[in-house]
Symmetry: C2
């Protein structure tokens, strides 16, 4: 990882072109970014509540994402504590919302053999680490 603070070439990972859409796609394409926006859609959450909402993701990444999203102007630390969406973040969230309906339809319409059945029966494959 870049030394986290010194490198000026800290362009967002894969987006070396600098085109805004690429920067945005790359930012949102990191783990928990979309999820954080999603979980904050209704109301602000404290860092710990957010962590709980996000499947108990490790605080390390969550803080990293939170910092990035704050720098991007999508999320802010509220007065009374807790993280909330900025007006800009709320606009962005509006574009993520339709995914909910899409996801329902997607799962409902059995698009592909893998990703769902795969002869695995039910339950969760052990997410080994």
């Amino acid at each position: 990882m870049a030394k986290q603070a010194d490198s000026k070439t800290r362009s967002v990972r894969g987006s070396r072109t600098g085109r805004p859409i690429m920067v945005l796609l790359d930012l949102l394409g990191r783990r928990w970014s979309l999820r954080i926006l999603w979980e904050l859609r209704d109301e602000p959450l404290t860092s710990r509540a957010l962590r709980t909402a996000c499947d108990d993701a490790s605080p390390t990444v969550l803080q990293a994402r939170l910092t990035e999203l704050r720098e991007a102007g999508f999320v802010e630390l509220e007065e009374g504590g807790g993280y909330g969406l900025t007006p800009l973040g709320r606009d962005l969230c509006e574009m993520v919302m339709p995914l909910h309906r899409f996801a329902e339809r997607w799962q409902g319409s059995s698009p592909s053999p893998r990703l769902q059945g795969e002869g695995r029966g039910k339950g969760e494959p052990p997410r080994r680490r």
Copy 2:
């Protein structure tokens, strides 16, 4: 909370809940997933053309994402060669498109330091809470 653990859900990395939206957010939250959808928005591309379009990302991940997106039913291998969006994938892409306009607006009037150039930590010191 209803636990819908039917056969339709397979864990995709962090999404242990199995709720479709989580599965989708997690799938799209992987590196190059959104970018791939974006690059295929107009026309099918060969794997190598896609790689070029994606900032020369390593073929390893690209193939992995491509496989996942194919299994999800968003992308398919065309007859004459090359990857293209399925009708379902096109629907999904429709939701990613508005991000373009948003991204322009975002970077145009960015309230916070842009994510490229300027690491964090120096320009924004104390963060009183």
